[in-house]
């Protein structure tokens, strides 16, 4: 499972892997490419009611080995979760709640007055929440 917060200009904020060195490059590519799909989905929803937009985008696309899920906040920060396709324990609802949790902890990070938007996130509490989530899910 990998995870990305992506700022307005699609600058990578954080990529976290369960096993840090395992194919990290591949995750980078996968997640980066998925942003196209995210953009497509967001623009498909339309700009009529941005406030009531559903943040969770659902399954972006399946690849051979992974399922890629996306989530976009109102400020166009993108979260992407990549799940092993053999993992059946994670249903849509679980993924959705994971995103919610992630979003709230991300909001906490953003509320930190010492955080510069656009920087790589270096927050212990955020890290612990994310890693707890990943350990739990994997």
């Amino acid at each position: 499972m990998a995870l990305v917060g992506s700022w307005l200009y699609n600058i990578c904020l954080a990529v976290v892997c369960v096993v840090p060195t395992q194919n990290e490059l591949k995750f980078h590519y996968t997640v980066h490419t998925s942003l196209d799909v995210v953009e497509e989905k967001v623009s498909a929803v339309g700009k009529a009611l941005p406030d009531q937009r559903e943040l969770y985008l659902g399954l972006l696309y399946p690849t051979e080995d992974y399922k890629v899920y996306g989530y976009v906040t109102n400020s166009k920060v993108k979260f992407v979760i990549v799940v092993d396709s053999s993992n059946t324990s994670l249903r849509d609802n679980e993924i959705r709640s994971m995103f919610r949790k992630l979003h709230s902890s991300f909001t906490d990070v953003m509320c930190n007055p010492f955080y510069n938007p656009g920087d790589t996130i270096q927050s212990k509490s955020f890290d612990s929440i994310v890693s707890a989530m990943m350990v739990q899910s994997s």
Binding site: Y9, C12, T21, L25, E40
Partner: protein, 1411 residues
């Protein structure tokens, strides 16, 4: 998918064209060979028809054939083997590179601006070659031969027989069944007889006659006389002819411009079997056929055809071109199209006739019998049917044949219906290969129908591709199908479908195909309505990867570079590193080392998140590439190195020698050195000191352009001016390196790169500056001008920040510019036994320092502008004096007030004399060089080590010896302390190399604690207009507590005895000195001895010691306290005003040695003591004013101020006590005697003064005041002060015997002495009537009465003493208090004031005895 040169329709049409075989006789071949062409090649440029053709379909409708192209090939052209195809394709792709300098297409998508090549010619080349190399298949007829040209030369002896033979040959090839390869469309192939006539060579009439003969024999429609070679070959290249063949032949033959020979070799070698066949077995006795093979002809023609671009068609004129064109047209319109028309009709008739019966019957029976069978058909069986082969004459194939014919002549409507029918038949037969072919073509013809547009059946294509790939396992056909389909989808703006289709076609079996298709897919993504940039990038990377696997390095590099644009700078570091690394590798293998270096640089510069091993791999690769580049290039300028990071802004420059450390007892001045951190406050402090000393040196005024000297320039200093460096003095540049990697880096041969412009400053300005020199070529080459230090080795650990100090030593004057750091970069090799030296590469990094950001004008505020920074551009000036200062016996710890003698050595280490040596200090009271008057005996420091610092005289303790000293002698003028002291040098200066030692006295600071003492030595050159130089020294002194001295002064009531030697004005004072040992270190200091108490004042002096006890040497152990009492008298003042400024020093020694306090160093320190009392005095006066009781005084007038002054003077003392002590200290089992002096300034009578400055804790918290302070009340003399105007004293016998029995009244004479303490006239009223009112006193004393006048009025002049003789009358014996007279005093001038009661004197008790 990228844009193509052709439209889709054109592309499809050109892909499926009627093919015509050529069978050529040997003579005919020879004729064409003169043009370096075979006959098919000769025709090839003219195979596209420019005019429209017409034919009628079975329904008699006219079909217009537009832009038809026919394909003419030798009959014997063999299909290529798969391996050769692969080779051919790969060469086609690699031979076609993106054109250089073509304006790239800029695609803007979101935040991305991408430069993408709009066209992909390599893909088109690949596609063309791929389609051409398609082997003919049995399930379709599109590329089967429709006709055959039989070509015979007119020179042939018997052309007719030759035609006969060729015709038989053709028939044999088609029908004998021996040859599988050339596939023929229809059994009765159209034969077209061509008589080739060489105009320059042959007999034209004969040719015409043969042609007539042919026409009669074969019919006019099937014959043609082609006349070519109207020009003799010898005419040569004089005439420039267009060469329409080159493009075709280049493409087909010499695809790869690099090695056409290799290609031709490869082709010929791979056909050994075929060659044998043609020459020996296949066509025995018929050499004409064999020549058709390209390879053979090539062999015959010799190599020149391939190795050098031979001009084709050298014997052809433009007329010949026209003839050929006409020939093709004739052939097509009169031969081929009618033939096709005829065949379509035939096939149609066949089909129609069979349709009613056989086909329906056939299918009906099939349904009948097959109905039950269907469920039993297994997959395996279905697969078997995939390979099903129909016999050539099968009706299903006939319909397909007709469809193909229709398709070839662009009759798409009919073709579609035929394909559709055929598809149904094939599907029902489960002949999957056939079905797929029909599906594919049905879709194509549906797409190409121009009339009623049928929706393009994309699912047909999908099914076809799937079937080809999965069922038939025929990737070639699947690929062809996909190429067409993608092209069609693209034309219909269905990019995502096209991309999906292309991506699906990628597989492991062909890297080249996968790469090309992925690239096209990527182009599809970018061309979508909302461009999918990231998908584009990702597929580009995949494509690049495949390209590199396929050996197409150039294309791989291009793909990665295009993808890089998307990933760059977005934080996807791993991806970015990966791309950069690949780009670097590919660039290097493609001999683009500059790009490779740039790419590797990127990986290394940015904060890499890679693991250490990866980083070291990157680094090694980089170094390797870099090294090979630097070896190959002969550039003079060294390239920039990316590692380690150079923090230019933190560069510091130091001018001067490295600091010398202490040598034994000698301790060098700290000066400035790079190890010292910059401290803004300190810098400010030094600058102020320098300003002071410069001010003094310039007689009170600081020059306008004064700038404090800076020896160490950093980012904190002001670097606007060019710094000055002195010739033969080193310049040290400190650069900061940071290693961002997790692997250590090794630098070698680190040095500075500079540029130097020599300039002679002794000449008048405006001279031509010399030529600029640089040490770029050889680091140490110009060591005679500027010596450059080289650091041989310098290692930086992982993620370490390290500084390197590099030195330059200029030997000539001029302007220097430090440009960059030169070094060799290498890896640190782990010691694992390898003997190979780690690779080192030479390079540089420029020191570019940006000045501070400007922020003064509006433009500067709104934009980002930086000022200049010249810290690296020093000006080398002519030699200047250079001073070094050493301190000898300089202590680190002192007792408060301790006096220590140290020595200081001044050395002029330069070759220029120096003068004007001065020193400024933050603590001028701390040290003294002695006064000018004192003899500076050149005693060496060792000789005087254990002597007293003071000048002493052996005198027994007695009355104080006095000495009058002017403060000016000690360099003190006015009240302010001198912060700048001139250092007395012998002869006023120091010559080159001279050294001078002079004594220095130090006195421990009064406050305990650690004191930071700054010395700034100032000196200048003997020459005028030269700059001054300074030397800094910072000393730390730890002061520990010694003694605390408190002193109080009281008016003495005793009046001086009349006629005494010291009688002057009658004023004297008692001084009480309390001395307490407050030293806390019991171990160190054993005891203190008070040796002497001296006084220094302008008005008072200590007179005698009136200590009651005989304990003369007043010893004070720890925490002991002693008290000393002295009598002070007023000094003589008769000398007048000139002496008012002079100080009287009075020494009262308690031991047998008198310390002459009026000389160095005692007096020096006294004058330098500072005046801590100033503040106290102010405090007191304010406090006193606050306590003024509002008594019945009239409001103060102008005169009151004068009065106040006078009154205050009265109680002022201004007496300074100097307590000289000795301390016995045990240190290392040795007893040491330390000396010291403490100062106490007495100011007011009765007010205690202390040597230890009181801590003003009250100052710590100052209340914020929101209201302005009330103006202090007008100071007026307090009551207490007023009550001290007059000192009274009663003189009487202590006891008086009186015989009361005899005489009842006892009269005692009493003298009342009145002394005016003030400097003004005072009116005094003495009232004797006053009685003590306290009952207590009544009890104690009996009553007595004053006799005579009871009230006196006197006026006393300043300091006047008057005596009144009074008489007291006693009635009985007893003890009486005589102190009853009340004295009132009033200033004579201050008329408005009331008289104030004067302080009553002590109880004056008299004992009256009765005898």
């Amino acid at each position: 998918m990228a844009q193509c040169a052709q439209s889709v329709q054109e592309f499809v049409q050109d892909s499926f064209v009627p093919t015509v075989a050529v069978l050529c006789s040997a003579d005919a071949e020879r004729v064409t060979r003169r043009n370096n062409l075979s006959f098919p090649e000769l025709l090839r440029p003219f195979c596209r028809l420019t005019s429209e053709g017409h034919l009628r379909d079975p329904n008699n409708l006219v079909v217009v054939v537009k832009g038809l192209r026919i394909s003419v090939t030798g009959v014997n052209t063999q299909p290529l083997q798969p391996g050769e195809v692969r080779k051919l394709l790969s060469q086609a792709v690699s031979g076609c590179q993106p054109p250089e300098g073509l304006p790239a297409n800029v695609v803007t998508a979101g935040d991305y601006d991408l430069n993408i090549s709009a066209t992909t010619p390599w893909f088109e080349a690949y596609r063309e070659n791929f389609l051409q190399s398609m082997p003919a298949s049995d399930h379709e007829f599109l590329n089967h031969y429709l006709a055959c040209m039989l070509v015979v030369s007119s020179r042939e002896a018997a052309p007719t027989e030759q035609f006969q033979r060729l015709s038989q040959e053709q028939h044999r090839v088609q029908h004998s069944g021996e040859y599988t390869h050339p596939k023929w469309f229809i059994p009765n192939t159209l034969k077209y007889y061509v008589l080739l006539h060489d105009i320059s060579d042959g007999d034209e009439q004969r040719a015409d006659s043969v042609y007539e003969d042919m026409k009669q024999r074969y019919g006019t429609q099937c014959c043609y006389l082609l006349k070519i070679n109207s020009r003799a070959a010898a005419a040569g290249p004089a005439e420039q002819m267009p060469d329409p063949w080159s493009q075709y032949l280049q493409k087909s033959r010499a695809q790869s411009p690099v090695s056409p020979a290799v290609l031709s070799d490869a082709l010929s070698e791979s056909h050994p079997l075929e060659l044998d066949q043609t020459s020996n077995l296949g066509y025995p006795g018929n050499p004409s056929v064999a020549v058709n093979s390209i390879d053979t002809s090539r062999k015959q023609g010799g190599l020149p055809a391939s190795s050098t671009p031979v001009a084709h068609g050298a014997c052809l004129t433009l007329n010949d071109h026209d003839r050929i064109r006409q020939f093709i047209q004739e052939f097509t319109f009169r031969g081929l199209l009618p033939h096709i028309e005829k065949n379509i009709r035939q096939l149609n008739d066949q089909l129609v006739s069979r349709k009613g019966l056989s086909r329906s019957l056939f299918s009906a029976t099939k349904k009948w019998f097959g109905g039950g069978k269907v469920p039993e058909k297994s997959i395996a069986e279905l697969k078997n049917t995939a390979g099903l082969l129909y016999p050539p004459e099968a009706p299903e194939l006939q319909i397909r044949k007709m469809a193909d014919l229709c398709f070839l002549v662009q009759h798409y409507e009919l073709a579609y219906s035929c394909y559709h029918t055929a598809k149904k038949d094939f599907l029902s037969d489960q002949a999957m290969l056939y079905a797929a072919g029909a599906l594919e073509m049905a879709a194509m013809s549906a797409f190409l129908q121009s009339g009623a547009p049928r929706p393009y059946p994309a699912h047909y294509m999908e099914t076809a591709i799937q079937t080809y790939r999965d069922v038939c396992k025929n990737m070639v056909l699947a690929e062809r199908c996909a190429l067409f389909s993608a092209e069609v989808l693209k034309s219909q703006v269905k990019y995502s479908e096209a991309a999906a289709l292309l991506i699906k076609m990628t597989s492991e079996d062909s890297d080249l195909r996968s790469a090309l298709l992925l690239e096209q897919a990527a182009h599809c993504f970018i061309n979508m309505r909302s461009p999918m940039v990231r998908k584009f990038a990702f597929h580009m990377i995949l494509s690049g990867h495949r390209f590199s696997k396929a050996g197409q390095k150039r294309h791989a590099l291009r793909c990665y570079c295009q993808a890089m644009q998307v990933y760059k700078g977005k934080g996807w570091t791993l991806a970015e590193d990966h791309i950069n690394f690949t780009i670097g590798r590919q660039s290097f293998t493609l001999r683009q080392p500059e790009n490779a270096i740039a790419a590797f640089r990127h990986i290394l510069i940015n904060d890499s998140k890679q693991v250490a091993t990866q980083q070291s791999a990157f680094l090694r690769e980089y170094l390797y590439v870099y090294k090979s580049v630097s070896q190959s290039s002969s550039d003079v300028t060294l390239p920039q190195l990316p590692l380690p990071c150079l923090h230019s802004a933190q560069t510091r420059v130091f001018f001067g020698h490295e600091r010398r450390l202490a040598e034994g007892e000698k301790q060098a001045a700290t000066h400035v050195w790079l190890d010292q951190e910059y401290d803004g406050e300190q810098a400010q402090l030094w600058a102020e000191l320098e300003e002071q000393v410069v001010g003094v040196a310039n007689k009170g005024s600081v020059p306008i352009g004064f700038q404090p000297t800076q020896y160490c320039l950093s980012c904190h200093t002001d670097n606007l001016r060019y710094p000055l460096a002195v010739v033969e003095e080193p310049i040290i540049v400190e650069v900061v390196f940071r290693n961002p990697l997790k692997v250590p880096l090794a630098l070698a041969e680190l040095s500075l790169l500079w540029k130097f412009t020599p300039k002679d400053f002794s000449r008048p300005p405006g001279g031509v500056p010399g030529e600029a020199l640089s040490n770029e070529k050889e680091v140490t080459a110009l060591n005679d001008i500027i010596s450059t230090e080289v650091i041989p080795e310098f290692t930086i650990g992982p993620e370490e920040t390290k500084v390197a100090r590099l030195q330059l030593l200029p030997h000539k004057t001029g302007e220097l510019q430090v440009l960059s750091v030169l070094y060799s970069l290498g890896t640190v090799e782990e010691d694992n036994g390898t003997t190979s030296r780690p690779t080192f590469v030479r390079g540089r990094q420029d020191l570019e320092i940006q000045g501070p950001r400007l922020n003064t004008t509006k433009e500067e505020k709104t934009s980002v502008r930086h000022g200049p920074d010249h810290r690296l551009d020093p000006v080398i000036t002519p030699p200047m004096p250079l001073l070094e200062v050493f301190f000898i016996n300089f202590p680190t710890g002192l007792l408060c007030g301790e006096i220590r003698k140290a020595w200081v050595e001044f050395v002029n280490v330069s070759a220029v004399p120096l003068t004007g040596l001065r020193v400024a200090s933050t603590h001028p009271e701390f040290f003294t060089f002695g006064c000018a008057a004192s003899d500076l005996t050149p005693v060496t420091p060792t000789a005087s080590e254990h002597c007293s610092a003071y000048k002493t005289m052996a005198t027994p303790p007695s009355v104080a010896a006095t000495m009058l000293v002017s403060p000016a002698m000690f360099g003190v003028s006015g009240d302010d302390r001198p912060t700048v002291a001139e250092i007395p040098l012998v002869g006023g200066g120091l010559g080159p190399g001279e050294a001078l030692q002079i004594p220095l006295w130090l006195r421990g600071p009064d406050r305990e604690g650690v004191h930071e003492i700054n010395f700034l030595f100032y000196y200048e050159s003997v020459e005028k207009n030269a700059n001054h130089r300074v030397l800094r020294h910072k000393a730390f002194i730890c002061a520990s507590r010694s003694l605390s001295v408190r002193a109080t002064a009281c008016h003495s009531n005793t009046l001086p005895r009349r006629g005494g030697a010291e009688e002057e004005g009658g004023s004297s004072m008692l001084v009480f000195v309390d001395v307490e040992n407050i030293n806390t270190s019991e171990a160190g200091v054993r005891e203190f001895h008070i040796v002497q108490v001296s006084s220094s004042s302008r008005q008072w002096r200590l007179h005698t010691c009136i200590n009651p006890t005989g304990d003369r040497d007043s010893r004070l152990a720890s925490r002991e306290r002693g008290k000393l009492c002295f009598r002070a008298t007023r000094c003589r003042t008769q000398e007048g005003e000139t002496h008012a400024r002079k100080y009287t020093f009075a020494d009262l020694n308690l031991g047998n040695e008198q310390i002459v306090s009026s000389t160095t160093p005692c007096a020096d320190f006294f004058f330098r003591r500072g005046s801590p009392s100033e503040a106290q005095k102010g405090g007191v006066s304010v406090g006193g004013a606050n306590h003024t009781r509002r008594q019945s005084l009239t409001p103060a007038g102008g005169a009151d101020d004068g009065v106040t002054g006078v009154v205050q003077k009265c109680s002022e003392v201004e007496l300074n006590i100097i307590v000289l002590w000795k301390a016995y200290v045990v240190e290392d089992n040795k007893q040491l005697i330390l000396e010291g002096q403490l100062h106490v300034a007495l100011q007011t009578v009765g007010k205690e003064a202390c040597s230890v400055p009181q801590k003003e804790e009250a100052q710590e918290m100052v209340l914020l005041k929101f209201k302005p302070d009330q103006p202090p009340p007008v100071s007026r003399p307090t009551l207490e002060q007023l009550s001290r105007l007059i000192k009274t004293c009663l003189h009487y016998p202590e006891s008086y015997d009186h015989p009361f029995p005899q005489k009842s009244l006892c009269m005692v004479p009493v003298t009342l002495t009145l002394s005016n303490c003030s400097l003004a006239q005072v009116d005094v009223i003495i009232d004797l009537r006053h009685k003590t009112t306290s009952p207590e006193s009544l009890e104690v004393h009996g009553t007595f009465t004053w006799l005579g006048q009871t009230q006196y009025k006197l006026q006393l002049r300043p300091h006047e003493v008057q005596r009144l003789v009074l008489k007291a009358c006693f009635f009985q014996a007893g003890v009486y208090n005589l102190g009853t007279p009340r004295v009132f005093a009033k200033m004579a001038q201050a008329g408005t004031m009331c008289e104030t009661s004067q302080q009553s004197s002590m109880p004056a008790l008299i004992v009256i005895n009765s005898v």
